[in-house]
């Protein structure tokens, strides 16, 4: 009997705010340890939390784009447990129990292009969206651990899915889509390597349509790729275990990226008892219609709308529009390039073609790329003016992506510099005139368009190095109507 894989995700998203959830400390990646703290996020005696309005608004934006039911009144709770990265030894979070809803529940996210026999588009249920504070960071040294509280109190949003995902690939697809949507909504930078998007997963196997099997929780997956790898491993592990006639144990397992395995964290048998209760230092959060209208109207253009706009306004093929809008940074790159070189079809071609291919092979995202939109626009300008041939442009672009240098620099250094010397160009121009009597006749007959063809021929002859303006002038002088 084939077993069906059932996956649910818990995604922790760092919200794009300037200050922390409950205090004015700056949210900053990479600051010196314990230099971004105050009495509140250090949990000093007497300190009190005050909720960040922007964090709530980003939570509400998420709830809107994930089509959730937003609860008119929600509250914060204390989740009590002892751990050194948690300065108060409780986390302020939103717990869900009878009569106590979190910020939002019951939404969905459409995923598309499901591989391996799935439907091509379907909705994954969102169980809830809630707000909470992040912990500090533990570092491990010889014989001791060290604590940095800079991250303590950083605004987090937890998005929990229904167990609707059916394969590791689908889990990755969902995360990719969720990240894109949240980036578009301006909710998060979504950089998994910096930990601004973190994912835990529950995975179990069952007979198709049957009752849920025992699930294992997989933690510590730090990239989209590792989510898929870890879940694939876990899926196989459970399958083998069941095949051997052994039961799956309900437990937390950690993903070891190096070894490519999940391992049991051997948590104490004693069940966790978080003793949730309403946080008495905070007051209830009431979201009225006026606030929701404000949130809706403040939403940036989301991927679907943008894709439709690109396809229509720029007459781009559907697959190009899709690739250009897959992530917000890609769409932003595209639009920024257009500001320097306003030929959407050409820009799109290069971005989804050579640029995307390079990034793919280098394992980079567009936001990691060493090329800037302005640099790409400059290169395309050179190409457009014929300073670069198409072939040279590909070479130059590759080097730009590799080194971060500009097209102008590369052209100059590699002796791709233009030939402006009139004597040298005159020889080439005369050669081209001799070889192409037809177009030459057209020009002489006043058909100006043919000049461009002849310029192109000279450019080709010079391997893209001829100064097109000089060539243009020389051609016109020679072919002026008599």
């Amino acid at each position: 009997m084939t077993l069906e894989t059932v996956i649910g995700l818990e995604v922790h998203v760092q919200l794009e705010t300037a200050s922390k959830m409950f205090c004015g400390c700056a949210v900053e990646f990479g600051a010196a340890p314990n230099t971004r703290t105050c009495p509140v996020c250090l949990g000093l005696p007497g300190s009190l939390p005050v909720l960040n309005r922007r964090a709530v608004e980003l939570g509400l934006r998420t709830a809107v784009v994930l089509a959730c039911r937003i609860h008119p009144e929600s509250e914060f709770h204390r989740k009590n447990y002892y751990y050194p990265d948690l300065p108060k030894n409780y986390q302020i979070s939103q717990y869900q129990y009878a009569g106590h809803p979190p910020l939002a529940t019951g939404g969905r996210l459409q995923i598309e292009g499901v591989p391996a026999g799935g439907e091509t588009a379907r909705a994954i249920g969102i169980r809830r969206v809630h707000l909470e504070e992040d912990t500090g960071k533990l570092l491990h040294a010889e014989g001791r651990s060290l604590v940095d509280y800079n991250r303590s109190g950083t605004p987090l949003m937890e998005v929990v899915t229904e167990p609707d995902l059916r394969s590791p690939e689908e889990a990755r697809l969902f995360l990719t889509q969720l990240r894109a949507v949240l980036q578009y909504a301006g909710v998060t930078s979504g950089r998994m390597e910096e930990g601004t998007l973190r994912c835990d997963a529950n995975l179990s196997l069952r007979a198709p349509g049957g009752p849920h099997g025992t699930r294992a929780e997989v933690k510590n997956m730090n990239s989209l790729r590792s989510v898929e790898r870890a879940l694939r491993f876990e899926e196989a592990r459970q399958r083998e275990q069941l095949a051997r006639g052994e039961a799956v144990v309900q437990e937390t397992r950690h993903w070891d990226e190096q070894r490519g395995v999940t391992f049991s964290s051997r948590e104490k048998e004693e069940a966790q008892d978080y003793r949730y209760f309403p946080e008495p230092d905070l007051v209830p959060l009431v979201v009225d219609d006026a606030w929701l209208v404000q949130v809706r109207t403040g939403l940036p253009e989301l991927p679907d709308a943008k894709r439709r706009r690109y396809a229509e306004a720029f007459a781009l093929p559907e697959h190009e529009a899709r690739l250009l809008t897959a992530t917000r940074p890609m769409a932003e790159f595209f639009e920024a390039t257009l500001r320097g070189f306003n030929q959407p079809k050409i820009v799109a071609n290069w971005l989804v073609g050579d640029v995307a291919a390079y990034l793919n092979s280098a394992g980079q995202e567009i936001e990691d790329a060493r090329i800037t939109p302005a640099a790409l626009a400059e290169m395309l300008g050179l190409l457009d003016r014929g300073t670069l041939s198409g072939r040279l442009a590909k070479e130059v672009l590759e080097e730009m992506l590799r080194t971060g240098r500009t097209a102008a620099e590369i052209v100059k250094e590699r002796g791709l510099v233009q030939i402006s010397d009139e004597a040298a160009l005159t020889a080439m121009v005369d050669g081209v005139i001799a070889e192409h009597p037809g177009p030459v006749g057209d020009v002489r007959a006043g058909k100006d368009k043919a000049v461009a063809f002849l310029v192109g021929q000279v450019m080709k002859r010079s391997r893209g190095r001829a100064n097109p303006e000089v060539v243009n002038r020389l051609l016109r002088e020679r072919l002026a109507p008599r």
Binding site: P39, V50, N80, P87, N89, V147, Y149, F277, D281, V283
Partner: protein, 492 residues
């Protein structure tokens, strides 16, 4: 006007007049108070920390300015802070060995406001550990003694503040009240003591006991001084989400002493079994005085008030168990020298740093919140709280104020109740319901039983401190009790 007696025994209002007329200076007043501390505190142990140099330096800076045009009303007035209120750079222990040597890098909002008001901060007063207690015997640094009888407790948890004001070791003081910790010591020490409405005074920088109940409030030797001090510390604070935005009336300026037509409800349940006859008599006599002044007194029943104590001893420990989780030997506070693993670091540091009552309440609160008991205890207690709050609100629709005793007995002997937690808890049966209802309550001296002061409690509507103070002022004007001073002082 001649200096009437030691400056240490003057009220803030008197000092202000003396400053204005040039008959006394803040330096002289602070020196008199410091001398009193030097003379009496070895006996009373009201203080855990006194900064003489800082106090004298601050006082000098107000010499010639305090009491004059443009100076804030409390400029140059010596004041003491309960040791659970954060003071930047000064030790702040909340009476716990756990916080031995802890010096916060920030000031509580009330500390900031007192500095801005020009008061002279003298030091930090003793209290029950983390404010858990009714006698100050739970302090990790030894008990405070009652100035009226050093064999007796000053009440608690703000016993140090109450004793300091009673003994002239401070002109004014701040305490905190979660279940009676301002009013009960106020009654035991014969001073005016006010617990404001929940949210009236910022809790930012108050070391938390039970966050939904804690309030900071004033101790003073008369009602006018209490009103002055409340005016200086009250008002919304962006750093405390639970503080109220209501405007702060000019409490001291609006004291009229007029109670004609004021409807006062005498709480029937506050005169039941367990109330010492002498206390009952004093408090009923006080009601008579108010009636004589034209107030309309009538009995009122709050049938669920008797359930306040058990509900409180679920809710307060539950919140406390979470509030005190942070004391685990990592960022600050006591850390055991003997721990190789994390669990031992936590469990042993807490074992060594906390006293018995703190451990008891942490255990009780953890139990009440734990899985399987939450509904039966914590939720049930919160439901009772709803009922109590409603009963008070309804009673205060019929009456302008409610009246009763502060505590069932006058100050008891040191050691008398320390071995019996439940007996100790019963000291707060008349104050706890007021915390659960979130209302303002004042303790005003209303007589003596066997030479020990008795307190009259007046309870007002939410944010109705002005009415509470005005009635207390009327009573005070009509009676001499507040002018009595402990015999200890005549020997000093």
């Amino acid at each position: 006007m001649a200096v009437p007696r030691s400056l240490a025994d003057c009220t803030a209002a008197e000092l202000r007049r003396l400053y204005a007329s040039g008959e006394a200076s803040p330096s002289e007043a602070v020196r008199a108070v410091l001398d009193r501390i030097a003379a009496l505190d070895p006996t009373l142990h009201a203080y855990l920390y006194v900064d003489r140099d800082a106090a004298l330096r601050e006082a000098r800076s107000w010499d010639g300015r305090a009491g004059r045009e443009g100076a804030p009303p409390l400029a140059g007035i010596p004041i003491a802070l309960k040791d659970n209120i954060c003071t930047r750079g000064w030790p702040t222990t909340a009476g716990s060995r756990m916080l031995d040597g802890f010096r916060p890098p920030y000031d509580a909002t009330v500390t900031v406001r007192l500095r801005e008001a020009g008061t002279i901060l003298l030091g930090k007063t003793n209290c029950d550990e983390f404010a858990f207690g009714s006698s100050t015997e739970n302090s990790g640094y030894g008990p405070t003694r009652n100035p009226w009888d050093p064999m007796r407790v000053p009440g608690g948890s703000s016993g140090g503040s109450a004793a300091a004001v009673a003994a002239g070791e401070a002109t004014l003081a701040l305490g905190s009240d979660t279940g009676g910790s301002i009013r009960e010591p106020g009654a035991f020490c014969g001073v005016v003591a006010l617990k404001p409405t929940y949210g009236r005074v910022s809790r930012y920088g108050l070391i938390a006991f039970a966050s939904s109940l804690d309030q900071i409030g004033p101790f003073a030797r008369d009602v006018r001084d209490a009103a002055l001090l409340l005016g200086a510390i009250a008002g919304g604070d962006p750093a405390d989400s639970t503080s109220g935005p209501q405007p702060v009336p000019a409490y001291a300026d609006s004291l009229t002493g007029e109670v004609r037509g004021l409807r006062i409800g005498i709480v029937k349940e506050f005169f039941g079994e367990g109330l010492a006859p002498g206390v009952a008599e004093s408090v009923r006599a006080a009601a008579g005085v108010l009636a004589g002044l034209g107030a309309v007194c009538d009995e009122v029943s709050l049938p669920h008030a008797v359930y306040a104590l058990p509900a409180y001893y679920i809710i307060a420990p539950a919140e406390a168990s979470s509030n005190l989780a942070r004391y685990a030997g990592v960022q600050y506070g006591h850390r055991t020298a003997h721990a190789d693993d994390l669990y031992t670091l936590y469990a042993r540091s807490r074992r060594e740093g906390f006293g018995a009552e703190v451990k008891r309440r942490i255990m009780l609160g953890t139990f009440a919140l734990s899985s399987g008991y939450y509904d039966a205890y914590y939720l049930r207690a919160q439901r009772v709280r709803s009922v109590i709050r409603r009963e008070f609100t309804q009673a205060l629709e019929r009456f302008d104020l409610l009246l009763g005793p502060v505590a069932p007995t006058p100050a008891f002997l040191l050691g008398e109740k320390i071995e019996d937690p439940l007996q100790m808890y019963l000291s707060d049966i008349y104050t706890i319901p007021v915390n659960l209802a979130g209302l303002p309550g004042i303790s005003v001296p209303c007589g003596f039983v066997n030479g020990l002061p008795v307190g009259l409690q007046l309870i007002g509507r939410a944010f109705g401190e002005a009415t509470v103070l005005d009635a207390a002022f009327a009573y005070e004007q009509a009676t001499p009790h507040h002018t009595a001073r402990p015999s200890l002082l005549t020997r000093a």
